[in-house]
């Protein structure tokens, strides 16, 4: 391609601006020394420091982190197991296609449907046990549900890139099933597992819809808190909080992307 149409480049940059304008706006207002208004009144970190004194924000942050860590841990294990079970066994082609469909379904189904379904599930489960009152547990369960499929897909693509010759070589070299799994399969899929885990973590931290339908009064997450503020009235502290959230997510995504590219 030797000719570069300026209009293509211009549109591309426009798209980029469109994508980042929101983030930049939030960032700008988070460091502007003004309660409201566009004008620049000087740089300040006041709004950020205020965050650390806000009871509710700290609580929401803690909730979000605990939720993300626990749900990621569970979903990474379950998702990896799912991927291995589905793609490391001689299923018939028909079964294989069925599994493909199943594993892709949670990804394509709109999250509001998932949220409603989960709310429904908990309502029923509540009849069995008090534990299913809307709260941290239901949040965790809800998050794990959409994370599993996601981790499984990432690990699956990693699994598929491993040829069968490596496995045959391991067997030829006297490996037992356990030895082979621990020393060959696991290390080789680990990059996929870690990437899946990190991204599942991001999904959890930034999730709104599912959390919205599965949380209880005592288990507010950051996105829910921010949403409530949008309704109540926005303050610069919220902008600071949002900026931090954006940066946090961006950093994780960049880490995962660079690590994945290095492996290629």
């Amino acid at each position: 391609m030797n000719h570069k149409r300026p209009i293509i480049a211009a549109t591309a940059f426009f798209s980029l601006i469109l994508l980042y304008l929101p983030a930049l706006a939030v960032g700008y207002f988070s460091i502007n020394n003004a309660r409201y208004g566009l004008a620049w009144r000087g740089f300040t970190l006041e709004w950020y420091t205020k965050l650390f004194h806000d009871q509710y924000i700290i609580e929401a942050t803690v909730n979000s982190l605990i939720l993300a860590l626990v749900s990621t841990a569970i979903s990474t294990i379950l998702g990896t197991a799912l991927a291995i079970g589905l793609y490391r066994a001689p299923w018939s082609p028909k079964t294989h296609r069925f599994f493909d469909l199943l594993i892709n379904l949670p990804v394509v189904v709109p999250d509001i449907i998932m949220a409603v379904a989960l709310a429904m599930a908990f309502r029923i489960l509540r009849l069995l046990s008090e534990a299913f009152e809307m709260g941290m547990l239901t949040l965790i369960i809800g998050h794990v549900t959409f994370q599993i499929s996601f981790v499984a897909l990432i690990v699956k693509s990693r699994l598929e890139s491993l040829g069968h010759e490596t496995d045959e070589a391991a067997m030829d070299l006297y490996a037992s099933r356990f030895f082979h799994f621990r020393r060959v399969t696991l290390p080789l899929i680990m990059p996929g597992v870690v990437a899946g885990g990190l991204l599942a973590f991001t999904l959890s931290i930034d999730d709104f819809i599912i959390s919205f339908f599965t949380h209880g009064p005592d288990s507010i997450t950051l996105p829910i808190y921010i949403y409530a503020s949008v309704k109540r009235g926005l303050t610069p502290e919220i902008h600071a909080l949002s900026t931090l959230l954006l940066i946090f997510t961006a950093v994780i995504v960049v880490i995962v992307e660079r690590a994945t590219r290095k492996n290629e």
């Binding site: 469109l18 566009l38 379950l78 996601f150 496995d167 709104f208 926005l234 995504v253």
Partner: protein
């Protein structure tokens, strides 16, 4: 030496002659060598099932079954205080179709249609922007390309709430865009550009552009430029170059992009909730209303089931067209 099960199975394997017996030995007991391991189908599958059963059960209990139950719930009634009364009824469906208490009201049907339309327009706008974007990235040298891709990927993962409310800031009363619109006489003095269609579309496109661009890029990356050069020689008009040379080659990526944009856009809730008003209500907002405020679970279930149906229809259309590249999910990037 005692005859082990292995010996018996081996015997089955060796002597299986379908012609003579007419019936093969039970296939699942058949010994095979799979990836270097000598074992039986049954053993391998049992192992696989042991691993995949917990997550499968989880997904079934918490996702598959509730979805089915939702459909069932659509046919139940709402009690006076919001509880579910197990009296089957078509009331909810009728309400959906517009037959409300006060005669026929097209409100809900409108909302359904609007969901389609908004999703459709968003998708088209995203396509319009995604093509130049991906082309631009494809022509960048190595490092620059990676840089651009990471830039596109990051917004994909960030919080929808934040990105939506940010537009509130941008389109606020004292900000340049609103001021400009007021000066042009499009809105009142001191008014803001939200809630409204413009705000909603800005929010939608800025949220969903990565969803469209990433799969499309996967196809654009593999484009055979020679075909495009040849088309440039053959056809004068740019539109023809596009439809004859570019579109066919990028169809797989485009198809995935369309599905991954249209379906979530149709069901979006946050963006329209924050940036839109009564006039831009979509089915997602309606559903949320039933569960959060009106506490009308059966009606909400009916709406959700309808959305599920709409989703399934879109997926079926997509599957029908997906004979070319089985690229499946965006997540193939990893």
């Amino acid at each position: 030496m005692a005859e082990t099960k292995f010996d018996k199975d081996m015997a089955k394997t060796s002597s299986a002659e379908p012609d003579r017996d007419g019936v093969l030995a039970d296939a699942s007991d058949k010994i095979l060598v799979w990836r270097g391991e000598m074992t039986s189908f049954k053993s391998l599958r049992t192992r696989a099932l042991a691993l995949s059963a917990p997550p499968l059960v989880w997904l079934t209990v918490l996702l598959a079954i509730p979805c089915v139950l939702l459909v069932g719930l659509s046919f139940l009634t709402r009690g006076q205080y919001g509880e579910i009364v197990y009296v089957p009824t078509f009331e909810n469906i009728k309400r959906l179709a517009g037959f409300g208490l006060f005669g026929w009201n097209a409100n809900f049907v409108l909302i359904l249609l609007r969901s389609f339309v908004v999703a459709g327009i968003t998708t088209i706008l995203c396509i319009a922007l995604a093509y130049p974007l991906t082309f631009h990235i494809a022509t960048r040298p190595g490092r620059s390309r990676v840089f651009w891709l990471i830039l596109i990927i990051i917004p994909f993962w960030t919080n929808v709430v934040v990105r939506a409310y940010a537009w509130l800031l941008i389109l606020g009363p004292h900000m340049p865009p609103a001021r400009l619109a007021a000066w042009l006489g499009l809105i009142n003095e001191g008014g803001s550009l939200y809630p409204g269609s413009l705000a909603v579309y800005l929010g939608m496109v800025s949220t969903f552009l990565p969803f469209m661009a990433l799969p499309l890029y996967a196809s654009v990356e593999r484009l055979n430029w020679e075909i495009i050069e040849a088309a440039k020689d053959l056809y004068g008009q740019r539109l023809q170059i596009f439809t004859q040379a570019i579109l066919p080659q990028t169809r797989p990526g485009l198809a995935v992009g369309v599905i991954v944009t249209f379906v979530p856009a149709m069901a979006t809730f946050v963006i329209t909730d924050i940036l839109g008003g009564a006039k831009t209500m979509l089915i997602g907002n309606l559903i949320q209303q039933q569960f959060a405020q009106a506490w009308d679970w059966p009606f909400g279930a009916a709406l959700s089931s309808t959305l599920m149906l709409m989703t399934l229809i879109c997926l079926a259309i997509f599957k029908r067209r997906q004979d070319e590249d089985p690229q499946g999910s965006i997540l193939n990037r990893f």
